[in-house]
């Protein structure tokens, strides 16, 4: 959901203030008089999202100019964070265009000492093939007592807390359909 243009400035945090000064109440009066008004040097943002760090679930607004994210700051309408962000949330922008970020498929052949860039198609086909091979070879239909178990213990799945709910649900659905029982995420660690 995007907020309307008229709320644009509000998202910059006119509503934020010290606790004792009262969170939520606008407390900045207009700059008047002779002194110059400085131009905002970048867009505040109008696309809302949720911070990608801890589980407080702070709202963020994302400013996009020319197809690029130029600014990420707290969503002042969000009832929990009220426009605030900690150091991580405030640094979140640096994730997007980080030179450290992996933006192409990387493949490491057995015994190799380096990554190779591969196409998605080749990689996905090979992963699917590996999953099928491993599953077919190690599938346990019945245990030693003859009870139906229909499971695979040779494939493990780990992760989830960086997914959205829809993504983790989809992966869990796929994993269970494949018969995976070694299924785990960050809840314990």
């Amino acid at each position: 959901m995007s907020v309307s243009r008229r709320d644009f400035l509000k998202l910059g945090g006119a509503a934020a203030g010290g606790l004792l000064l009262g969170t939520g109440a606008p407390n900045v009066a207009s700059a008047g008089g002779e002194d110059p008004k400085f131009l905002l040097h970048k867009k505040i943002g109008e696309i809302t999202t949720i911070c990608t760090y801890c589980a407080v679930g702070c709202g963020q607004v994302v400013g996009v100019q020319g197809g690029k994210v130029v600014n990420v700051e707290g969503d002042p309408d969000h009832p929990i964070n009220r426009g605030t962000l900690c150091s991580k949330g405030a640094a979140n922008w640096q994730v997007i265009y980080s030179p450290e970020r992996v933006t192409q498929v990387q493949y490491r052949a057995p015994g190799s000492d380096k990554w190779e860039t591969k196409s998605w198609d080749w990689t996905l086909d090979r992963i699917a093939q590996k999953i099928k091979e491993t599953r077919d070879k190690n599938f346990i239909a019945k245990d030693k007592d003859g009870a139906t178990v229909n499971r695979v213990e040779a494939i493990a799945y780990m992760g989830g807390a960086q997914h959205t709910n829809e993504e983790v649900y989809t992966w869990v659905k796929a994993a269970r359909a494949l018969g995976i029982v070694y299924l785990e995420h960050q809840a314990r660690i």
Partner: protein
């Protein structure tokens, strides 16, 4: 969390123990300060003066691994001084229930312990039942067999002297904490306990948390505004991924994952559905069958029919009693039993316990798929320092994942708020959203099984997986999780309630006859025909209790305070009229405020509808190591257990091996623990790659007292080595007044704290504290014992 973050502002006393919200959840902390502005007190109990403690009204030190002793003393203090909220305890907990006379506790062990199997026969951990099968109660709570009296007896050993000798907390501070917090036992007072991994990551982690719950129940602090057991979870969607059950033992919505004992839905339901004979107990889990059948319908669609038991046997079944969690997963990997590993957005090579061993285990894999934004330590384990890449035969796929602004979907915060994220830009470079990746892989696997067949292909080929060829629409999947009607659903008179294909409005409408689908019953209602509830943005607060019921959506059924029925007396009067999340309007027989638990008139049902007793359990037979939390020392401890002969949790899960040796106190006398920094995130990939965060916290360090530093000849800023039987790490010493040596039964015991975010990859590298942590798990959850172990420190 039973309540949610903004609810801290309703509290009179907030007690932080085993957590550090100012450090790890800074934006939640404003609600703590908001409460303090209104006069609330903040207690922080922690081995060191933390960022949270800097704001505290009262700080007390504690040796890591002794929380139950601390809380046991608290329980004793509450019970002996009669500071509990009597009516709440009597009516809403099992305090008045009479327990089987054969139940006993003796020198650290409850009745029924079998030393060979290291497990309990729990047949005496039961209530006395009347002839209708309803538990007997003594409403005076004076019967020696009633739970309250048994509890009093159990904790009578937790005297201030003993507790102080175990925890190292000075006696006066213990008493101050107990006194300050038990003030909240008054009906018109509310207290919240905030905790995180400092409670859970112990071999007694579940019992630690139970001890908090017991205190909260005794003081009437559950279900009320400002009273909660506040688990502060770490990652932005760790709550959602728990709800969606990326966990071996669950299916989405906290349904049990089937085991070999569950050969049919009938077997399964018989095993997992609790029963009650008490007419006032709603026993919500009686609806279990509706949830599992609707879920099977969501997964296998038309292929799940009554005739094939809704394809129940297509679900994998675990070996009975087998643990498939993090530690045994890596043990199995090390043994070569696991060939393929898919790891998404997680970095066990830094975050896993005994990380050195877990890194070695990765080399036993045939293949590994990593979906990430970064080249993590896990992805790059084969070229880590000290190994020869040529010797490692694992085939590794590193898939570039899309970042949080490059995809849409919902995430669930620690207060169970399901909130929608909007997409801002297309994924950078060749990166792709996880939904796309999952879809592409499954489409290919499905095509291969359809074409070539293979082992038990049905669950794969007949899986309801129609997400198209490209990027699946997150809204479509959200609707699937919420659930819909597969055919017209009519009432007794034949009137259509929900037309075929329409979304199910709430889980009360789910059915076990195949007429509804629902991917996760607790999320039923978050994406209905009325729209995407997770995207709601009404931040008004009509109750003045910071419920914000119009903002996003709270599972279950947008209920902001769980067990909120306990906020009113059996007569329907709020314990505290000034802060009542619920109001019963007798005139028109309705509730206003939050969404009530259960429904009906106040005295119609008991408030804790998820328990088959209908009340909360002070005596909790469900736990592995006993119905009352009992103090045991950590697996590695510098002290003898002063409370019993049982040095350690007799049921703790321990993998002792050459790569997981126990460190002995004679050689490694210092208690070690791990923790995080506000400026970094978990295993570090999301922060060590951001130069702004590296700038503000450039390297891992170990905090120690001035006294320990003096003993070891260490100066602030020196490089030091911390080591034990599992490994050694080199870090900078931060010598601080904020940690003091503990007086443990007359002996000075030192503790050090290590920052664990670092590893060998990314923009900032450093040693991983988890090279020192053990493969030892809690008896119930197998959560690793990260927070209390032994080590030694020396200058480089």
């Amino acid at each position: 969390m039973t309540n949610h973050i903004a609810d801290f502002a309703n509290s009179d006393v907030i007690w932080v123990m085993g957590g550090n919200p100012a450090e790890n959840h800074p934006c939640a902390f404003k609600w703590v300060t908001k409460a303090m502005e209104k006069g609330a007190k903040l207690i922080v109990v922690d081995p060191r003066v933390t960022r949270s403690a800097s704001a505290a009204t009262l700080y007390a030190p504690i040796r890591s691994g002794t929380n139950i002793a601390f809380m046991g003393g608290m329980i004793k203090y509450i019970l002996e001084n009669k500071l509990y909220q009597e009516e709440y305890v009597r009516e809403y907990t099992n305090a008045a229930f009479l327990v089987n006379p054969k139940f006993e506790f003796n020198d650290g062990l409850f009745a029924g312990y079998n030393p060979t199997t290291k497990a309990y026969d729990k047949s005496t951990w039961t209530y006395q039942l009347d002839d209708k099968g309803v538990p007997k109660r003594d409403l005076t709570m004076s019967d020696p067999q009633c739970v309250l009296q048994l509890m009093k007896k159990h904790y009578s050993r937790y005297t201030i002297d003993t507790v102080s000798a175990i925890t190292g907390t000075p006696k006066d501070l213990l008493e101050q904490v107990y006194k300050m917090y038990s003030e909240t036992g008054k009906p018109d007072k509310a207290g919240a306990i905030i905790y995180a991994m400092g409670q859970t990551q112990h071999s007694v982690g579940t019992q630690n948390v139970e001890s908090l719950a017991l205190v909260q129940l005794l003081l009437g602090n559950v279900g009320v505004a400002g009273g909660q057991v506040a688990a502060m979870r770490g990652l932005h969607n760790v709550q959602g991924s728990t709800d969606m059950a990326a966990l071996y033992h669950n299916l989405p919505g906290y349904l049990a994952a089937p085991t070999v004992r569950d050969q049919s839905t009938a077997d399964y339901l018989k095993r997992v559905v609790p029963t009650t004979s008490d007419p006032k107990s709603l026993n919500w889990w009686k609806n279990y069958s509706k949830y599992i059948v609707s879920q099977l319908k969501a997964w296998f669609g038309d292929a799940a029919t009554k005739d094939n038991d809704f394809a129940f046997n297509w679900l994998p079944k675990m070996a009975a009693g087998k643990d498939y969690s993090h530690i045994p997963l890596f043990e199995a990997m090390k043994a070569g039993d696991i060939k393929g590993f898919i790891v998404i957005g997680q970095n066990p090579a830094v975050g896993g316990p005994n990380a050195g061993m877990e890194r070695d285990a990765l080399a036993k894999l045939d293949w590994m798929v990593v979906s990430e934004l970064w080249e993590t330590e896990t992805a790059a384990f084969w070229k880590r320092p000290g190994v020869k890449s040529a010797d490692i035969q694992t085939e590794v796929f590193l898939l570039p994942a899309a970042s949080w602004v490059e995809r849409e979907g919902s995430v669930t915060n620690t207060g169970r708020w399901v909130q929608w994220r909007n997409k801002a830009i297309d994924p950078v470079g060749d990166s792709k959203p996880d939904l796309w990746i999952a879809n592409q892989i499954m489409n290919r696997v499905r095509a291969a099984y359809k074409k070539d067949g293979g082992a038990f292909a049905d669950p794969i080929t007949k899986l309801d997986w129609n997400y198209g060829d490209g990027l699946p629409n997150a809204h479509v999947i959200a609707k699937e999780i919420n659930g819909r009607a597969t055919a017209d659903i009519k009432d007794a008179n034949g009137v259509v309630q929900i037309a075929a294909g329409k979304q199910v409005p709430a889980f009360a409408s789910l059915r076990d006859d195949g007429l509804t689908t629902c991917g996760s019953w607790i999320y039923c209602g978050y994406y209905t025909d009325a729209g995407n509830m997770a995207a709601r943005r009404d931040n008004s607060d009509p109750t003045g209790l910071y419920l914000y019921s119009g903002w996003a959506w709270n599972w279950p059924v947008n209920r902001r305070i769980l067990y909120n029925r306990a906020s009113v007396s059996p007569k329907g009067e709020p314990w505290d009229p000034k802060r009542a999340p619920l109001k019963w309007n007798a005139a028109n027989a309705t509730w206003s405020g939050d969404v009530v638990d259960g429904g009906g008139a106040p005295d119609a049902i008991y408030p804790f509808i998820m328990n088959n007793e209908g009340v909360a359990r002070l005596f909790a037979a469900g736990l592995a190591e006993g119905p009352f939390p009992e103090h045991y020392e950590a697996w590695e401890s510098p002290a003898q257990n002063l409370l019993s002969k049982q040095q350690n949790n007799p049921l703790a899960k321990i993998w002792e091996s050459d790569s997981n040796k126990r460190s002995d106190a004679s050689k490694y006398p210092i208690v070690g623990t791990t923790y995080r920094l506000s400026e970094h995130m978990q295993a570090g990939a999301m922060s060590r790659n951001l130069p702004w965060l590296v700038e503000v916290q450039p390297a891992p360090f170990v905090e120690m007292s001035e006294q320990l530093a003096a003993e070891k000849g260490i100066k602030n800023g020196d490089r030091v080595i911390v080591e034990n039987t599992r490994g050694k790490v080199e870090m900078i010493a931060v010598v601080t007044k904020r940690i003091k040596p503990f007086n443990i039964n007359g002996k000075a015991v030192h503790q050090v704290g290590l920052i664990w975010h670092w590893g060998y990859e990314g923009g900032s590298t450093g040693d991983s504290a988890n090279s020192l942590t053990p493969h030892v798990g809690d008896a119930n959850t197998t959560i690793p014992e990260y927070k209390a172990w032994l080590c030694d420190v020396r200058k480089v």
